[in-house]
Symmetry: C2
Subunit: 340 residues, 2 copies
């Protein structure tokens, strides 16, 4: 980010017609946006949510409350014709409300997805290998998906996106997210493993065992090796989205725990990525708080979302657009003729 622009934004903010600090966390968000966009008056406009879908070999171990067949069904749902417009999932409804554009990528779904002109096809394999027993992805697959995510981010940005939201769909993907978080933050499986879309106590205990076995299987620490060993195709794609958006000086809104895992790989590769990340909400997954603490970033709300798809990111977009607007559109005390 641009420290000079952030300094200028702080100085401007101190002169705006409001008591110092009265806009709370919005003030820090505004200054960070100034840093991202390199101007004391940032003007983000377009919002894009890029939903990457992938399946997970580890789902066969019963780590999710839902069967893997839900992944392709939800991809179809993201693209469905509905009376309200394209897409009948939560992310579509929210994106229409806030004016965000939705991009849908097959990053590695375990199904024959029907032809659809809006579906971006980047799959190299139908679902990852089972991370409990072997590397989830090859290094070559991992890099291909990162590049596919980056390419789609470039397209979204060319279409006008200033706020870029990586989102995901993949039954079982809180398991790779937990494994990545554990390895990258040097925590144990129990410290980062939550209920995902809603497993019970017994399945949670099993999920922790699966993640522990995976972590015991490989001592990888190189970020891309860690991603290949324990990650997933949609997680690699989201990493590519984040790195490309930041490189093009766009703000990245971080939705939840799976996105956070991709972000941890990202900051391990390129620490400067952190300055482009804006966490949306604190999600219910136990490992999410550990991710945000490590990134030293605060979430904008606590609505208890645990859906994924980038939904939290879409909800947060108007808050960031609003934060930027205060720097851009508010008058100073001097302009308003108010003595200070």
């Amino acid at each position: 980010a641009d420290p000079a622009a952030m300094d200028a934004a702080r100085k401007r903010q101190a002169q705006l017609t409001k008591p110092a600090g009265a806009l709370g966390d919005l003030e820090d968000l505004a200054v960070r946006l100034a840093g991202v966009f390199g101007t004391e008056r940032p003007h983000p406009r377009g919002v894009a949510v890029i939903v990457a879908a992938g399946d997970h070999g580890v789902a066969a171990d019963g780590v999710s409350a839902y069967p893997a067949e839900v992944t392709p069904a939800m991809v179809a749902n993201f693209l469905a014709d509905t009376p309200a417009g394209p897409g009948g999932a939560a992310v579509n409804a929210l994106a229409r409300t806030v004016g965000a554009r939705v991009y849908v990528m097959d990053a590695g779904v375990n199904a024959d997805l029907p032809e659809h002109p809006a579906l971006i096809r980047a799959a190299r394999r139908r679902g990852t290998r089972n991370l409990r027993v072997e590397a989830a992805m090859t290094r070559e697959e991992t890099e291909a998906l990162i590049l596919a995510g980056a390419a789609l981010a470039r397209q979204a940005i060319a279409d006008g996106a200033d706020l870029v939201i990586p989102g995901e769909m993949g039954i079982g993907n809180t398991t790779p997210a937990a494994a990545l978080t554990a390895r990258l933050l040097r925590l144990n499986a129990a410290q980062v493993t939550g209920r995902g879309t809603g497993v019970d106590d017994q399945r949670l205990s099993h999920k922790i065992t699966v993640i522990r076995e995976a972590l015991d299987r490989s001592d990888a620490t190189d970020p891309l090796d860690v991603l290949a060993e324990f990650g997933g195709y949609e997680i690699a794609a989201m990493l590519g989205v984040m790195l490309q958006a930041a490189a093009l000086r766009r703000a990245v809104i971080l939705d939840g725990f799976v996105e956070g895992a991709a972000a941890l790989v990202g900051v391990a590769l390129a620490p400067a990525l952190r300055d482009y990340l804006f966490p949306a909400g604190e999600c219910a997954e136990v490992g999410h708080a550990a991710q945000l603490t490590f990134l030293n970033l605060s979430p904008m709300f606590r609505l208890g979302l645990r859906l994924g798809e980038g939904t939290g990111g879409v909800l947060a977009a108007p808050l960031l657009l609003s934060a930027a607007a205060t720097l851009r559109e508010m008058r100073t005390f001097e302009e308003a003729g108010i003595p200070t």
Copy 2:
């Protein structure tokens, strides 16, 4: 609110393509909106923020960090021509971002406000009397301002508002808000008195003494008597906005502590009002949490706002529009062909 519509919304929500409860607090908000709008598929569109401004006799006692001259200066700021459009205050910048319409009312500012076609003039007096030593308003003034607020709410609703946000500007007005909250919730002055726009320890202690003297002066308990004794013109106007919006089955977004004080008077007069209230953020004022606990309502975010003007309400509007959109636009598992 409409319990049948809420039941229908809950049943519909359980069938939507997401894990049960995965949209967190948004799900309860959506059901409450179904109750307000009387349909399982609520479709709020327009957003209006009504900023009522008034001065306070008690400001002469030094209860605020700012001089009373700031009130008329900020009214001018709400109406100023700026390169971005009408209004150079925070509420204007936020309202432009989310597409909300701003209405500005002189409810009782202590100044000759310049002519402006967009300024709604409802003042009966230039500022209230000092609530420490006498009733802030007469009963007749109180009722006149309630009716003026109601009339402006009707206008905003006729202009298309489905989400109505009462907002305020009035140097010193956290003092009447604290006095109202103390009396209506039967708390003492220290339990509900905070720093407003930023008084120091000494002035906070003085502010508590002023509020205690006011409470000792009158044993009023009738809600309108309490409002007249301890309230303010903009608070009465906001009460009128809330009651009228609820009567016309619109949702009211509650910004902060001063709005919350008006809401407490409102539910004392008409308990059904509570079902139409949607608190935006938890504000930094100590008495705000007590108000929300009494109303049994949860805020949507905790951004630490303490500005007023309805700013928090404007930031919350996209969240409510989004919550309603999930009920309206998401497909059910059956529609998406996903087995459950």
